[in-house]
Symmetry: C2
Subunit: 242 residues, 2 copies
């Protein structure tokens, strides 16, 4: 087998690992919210078990990326893909951490009288969509989908502020709800941060495909794929999944 | 000039850029806390101005790292240094974001009657120390200092919990303090996250020097520098700053 074919196969394995890790993170979020809503204690163990798998993938993927860079000395699009993989790996691991935080707050809340959850259910749905779509965009090198994910982040922020204000009002009118209200506000923050990580992933996808940094409002306007900073050797973006 | 000497000089420039970015982040944190304590509105503009410089460095450093990998095709210690630089860059940018969050909460609080700040001043001091020391550890390839930073994270968590409980108590006994109390709790969270980012940086330093992943409790026990996953070509850790 040629080195190039080896490399393409290795990249495919790496992409699969990241997608598996993303799937686990989505599952953790789903389980954490089920714990919040249905109050089944056993779900905490499942979240923690998924966390261990996510943490192992986090270590494995970093090692995998460094090995690929050292062995294949990639340039341009392939190098941007590997740099994106390193960053997406960190963002996914932190999404997992946020799900654990939600599960832990939910363990406290399950022993308390129920309090309204504001826009939390809608925030969960949106954050899950953003995580899944950002990884789809990564797998398919789909800049348009990545841009859609980035556009959704404002809606998540709006829902978080709305939840904040609603709960603050409740806490002010009934002091017995203060501790619970605070826990729900912190869960809204956790969800907002999951959406932020999905946005980071989507921005990394745009950079990977276009060779253009769109973070911090840079690189606005219509963009054409270009060689980017990693060298002029290959102008092509990395190949999408078959 | 030889390629190798070019590379060493480029690495030095990269390290300097990261240290400059770290210095700006520390300054942002200092300004944000001064805004909280002294209530000088003009400090918000200074925090935002520093944020713009941090954001530009964030983009520049990523580009710089990719260019170095593409041009010099590093392996082992040098490759781990460049991977660490990519991650440290992300962590620093997020530390800057947290400082902006603190400044924005402080803008609300400055129009309100003063509320006690719990252990916030001690948390600020500890978080600043952790950021500075994690970058010193990076510049000097100092594993021992990195381990000290990691050990400090528990103390920051303890101070955050203490601040939470103290403010929660206050909010429950006087409902006029709820909104302010919540803002101060969120600031304590921001500080905890800054300490988490410094811990991430310190863990990256250990990996960079030792070729050993100590995240998620992996790689415990006495460790010797080893070639790591990036290939057996060079067993040496990257050279410290002169």
């Amino acid at each position: 087998m040629t080195m190039k074919r080896h490399f393409d196969e290795d990249l495919q394995i790496l992409r699969d690992e990241l997608l598996r890790m993303g799937g686990l993170c989505e599952e953790m979020l789903r389980q954490a919210i089920e714990l919040l809503v249905k109050r089944e204690e056993s779900l905490l163990g499942r979240v923690k078990a998924s966390e261990e798998r996510v943490n192992q993938l986090h270590i494995d993927i970093d090692e995998h990326v460094l090995r690929l860079i050292a062995l294949h000395q990639p340039a341009a699009g392939d190098l941007r893909l590997l740099a994106a993989a390193l960053k997406i790996n960190s963002d996914l691991e932190r999404i997992g951490d946020q799900a654990v935080n939600i599960a832990e707050s939910s363990m406290y809340l399950r022993r308390q009288p129920r309090l309204k959850l504001g826009d939390i259910p809608r925030m969960v749905e949106l954050a899950s969509d953003m995580v899944r779509e950002s990884l789809d965009a990564f797998a398919r090198c789909d800049v348009e989908l990545a841009q859609k994910v980035i556009a959704k982040d404002d809606e998540e922020d709006r829902l978080k502020s709305q939840t904040f204000n609603e709960l603050l009002h409740l806490m002010q009118s009934d002091s017995s709800t203060i501790q619970r209200g605070m826990d729900i506000i912190l869960i809204a923050r956790n969800l907002e941060r999951i959406a932020d990580h999905a946005t980071n992933i989507a921005e990394d996808v745009v950079f990977m495909v276009m060779g253009k940094d769109i973070r911090h409002g840079a690189g606005q306007g219509p963009a054409e794929p270009e060689p980017g900073p990693a060298g002029p050797e290959q102008a092509e973006p990395p190949a999408p999944l078959p």
